[in-house]
């Protein structure tokens, strides 16, 4: 049995404010999303967020370790309507530059526990100036025990667009047996 399985790969042919993965089978142990994305927001660092199962309620919390200056910071937010605020390069960063993000949805179909996610993102740029680049490591929790069957990836909170050529690949990861 294959350990990694491609659930769906999407490459944008034009801008889109969100990307959705629906009808996700509960047959895997974990989900991993790899994305190479860029935002059209008129700034340098844009953001990528998630909602799951179409839940737009304030049921998401997060804690992050991040840097976009020489000082490493931490942040947290509870009872939010989205998670996880990962960096993506935006309109005013170096052209043709896309961020790298890897996100794990751990035990996403276990109905005994809230779903935890772990995510790492980098917002590369050809600049060493404060706030013109970014790295972030985040953990998040969705305070629901429902199995995840849908993941929506939002550009900021759905107010901006991921640009053409942004890619999103969702993998299902099997355990043994």
């Amino acid at each position: 049995m294959a350990c990694w399985n491609v659930i769906e790969h999407q490459e944008l042919s034009s801008g889109a404010s969100s990307v959705s993965f629906t009808g996700i089978s509960a047959s895997y142990d974990h989900l991993v999303l790899l994305s190479s994305a860029r935002s059209d927001e008129a700034t340098i660092n844009g953001y990528m967020n998630f909602q799951v199962n179409g839940d737009t309620g304030t049921n998401y919390s997060r804690r992050s370790l991040n840097a976009n200056t020489s000082t490493i910071g931490t942040s947290s937010a509870v009872n939010q309507s989205v998670f996880i605020y990962q960096y993506v390069p935006a309109l005013n960063s170096l052209a043709d530059t896309f961020g790298v993000m890897e996100t794990w949805f751990i035990d996403y179909s276990n109905t005994s526990n809230y779903t935890q996610i772990l995510s790492q993102s980098v917002g590369p740029n050809n600049s060493a100036t404060d706030s013109q680049w970014g790295l972030r490591l985040s953990s998040g929790i969705w305070t629901s025990t429902a199995a995840i069957n849908r993941v929506d990836v939002l550009c900021d909170s759905g107010s901006d667009d991921f640009v053409q050529y942004s890619t999103f690949t969702l993998y299902g990861i099997n355990g043994a047996g």
Binding site: L34, T71, I72, F98, V100, V122, S127, T129, L135
Partner: protein, 170 residues
């Protein structure tokens, strides 16, 4: 069908200045995993990554680094490599090597500069333990056809192992 395949593993039987992977196959993403040590006499030393043999000043690096009880972030541009993936130096115990995982996404997409994300550790049992997150940018939209790893003016030592994986998207 395997979604992740090992493209090539290189195990060093002797010290070398660099290792190059030049048959990358056709995948969506690449992942490079290294257990490495260098001839630098310190506890750690940065590994450098160059793509397609380009040694021009076309790379930018950003990283978060925790060492001992200290932490700091760094940024630099106009570099001749993506660097900061620290491996152990020869100042650590003979059995101690640093671990590195580097993701190179969409490496064949001719519409994107190649960007990488990585994590690394070094000298965890030694005197200057480090954990690092690295962001790297190659300012070139060319498809990546080769990946070279070197520790600058030092060598990679015997026992270092590098494996390049290809990750499919269908």
């Amino acid at each position: 069908m395997a979604i992740i395949e090992a493209i090539e593993t290189v195990y060093l039987e002797a010290d070398v200045a660099s290792v190059t992977f030049s048959s990358l196959g056709s995948y969506e993403h690449l992942q490079l995993r290294i257990i490495g040590k260098t001839t630098s006499t310190g506890d750690y030393y940065a590994l450098h990554l160059t793509l397609n043999g380009d040694t021009g000043s076309n790379y930018s690096n950003h990283r978060i680094e925790g060492y001992g009880s200290s932490k700091q972030a760094y940024a630099s541009t106009g570099n001749t490599s993506i660097w900061g993936f620290s491996a152990d130096g020869s100042g650590t115990g003979s059995a101690e090597y640093g671990g590195v995982i580097i993701d190179i996404l969409d490496y064949q997409n001719g519409n994107k500069n190649t960007t990488v994300s990585g994590i690394a550790s070094a000298s965890i049992a030694g005197g200057a333990p480090r954990v690092i997150i690295v962001s790297g940018l190659w300012d070139d939209v060319a498809a990546v056809t080769s990946v070279t790893v070197n520790p600058s003016s030092y060598n990679l030592v015997r026992g270092t192992e590098l494996t390049l994986y290809g990750i499919k998207s269908s």
